[in-house]
Symmetry: none
Subunit: 147 residues, 2 copies
Amino acid sequence: MDTINNKVDGKGRVSLPSDYRAIVKELSSEIVCYRSLSLPCIEGCLEETLDKLASDIETSTDFFSETQDNLTNLIFGDAKRFAFDSTGRITLTEKLLKHAQITNEAVFVGKGRKFQIWNPENWEKEEARIRADALKNRPSLRTKEID
Amino acid sequence: MDTINNKVDGKGRVSLPSDYRAIVKELSSEIVCYRSLSLPCIEGCLEETLDKLASDIETSTDFFSETQDNLTNLIFGDAKRFAFDSTGRITLTEKLLKHAQITNEAVFVGKGRKFQIWNPENWEKEEARIRADALKNRPSLRTKEID
DNA sequence: ACAACATTTATGGTATATCATGGGATTTTG
DNA sequence: CAAAATCCCATGATATACCATAAATGTTGT
């Protein structure tokens, strides 16, 4: 949960927000990150979340499962484990930082079982887009009691 | 549940009304708050309410769905856990206070499974608006009240 | 009914622990 | 051996826990 802005130093080091860390630490000591398929951001989650995704798709009878299978392969090929050090930081790779256009600052955005890491300006725009979109679809949101 | 007016100090601390606290404490020791999507107020609920919503979304769309991505970003990106201290207070964030235009005082308004936190003046206007709206949409009520 | 007392609640202030972040030391790798 | 990646320590900032007072509410006894 939550959106948090942290600094990224010259080595690509960035603190995983403490709230995130607390949750991760209950289950593991590392996370998995990969380039988002559709957005200019980094996605992160626990390894077990990716594993679950893979098995879900394997057993799926969905007509489009072949497409999803390809997408899954893309993610697995890209994904890399990141352990956090004693002060709670991970060091992101050039490939990931470049994809998300991150230099000095990174915004962590909670997504429940996953999270995203954004360039601050890009996230600002994306958030505005999402909120506008959600307002347009407000009737369906209402039934789900978001607002 | 009635509406309760409490002070907000310089740190953003505010007492959760005792009635609210009693209900929350039966189930948890913390609440979740987020900016209302359409109104200038803060909304609060139990975490399980958001979790339920998230699982609803997960089962209704697939892992790669853009709609799901947007919704989960909107919900979990904005929401934050707030534990209350030994005296029953939570400390609201700048983002939330700014959205609701709250400075010194905050009004708690019960909404069943949720509640809202308002700037007192804004709530006064909103309540008037709601009452006027109710009358307009129920002419039959009006005639009965006149008689 | 009223007074005296007790308990819960709200609020202000201060101390403490935690977190984010910079710099440097140490290890690994090619 | 050089370059890079990883680990460890120091510090300032921030948030959290703790204590102390004040107000409101509730309770008891006469």
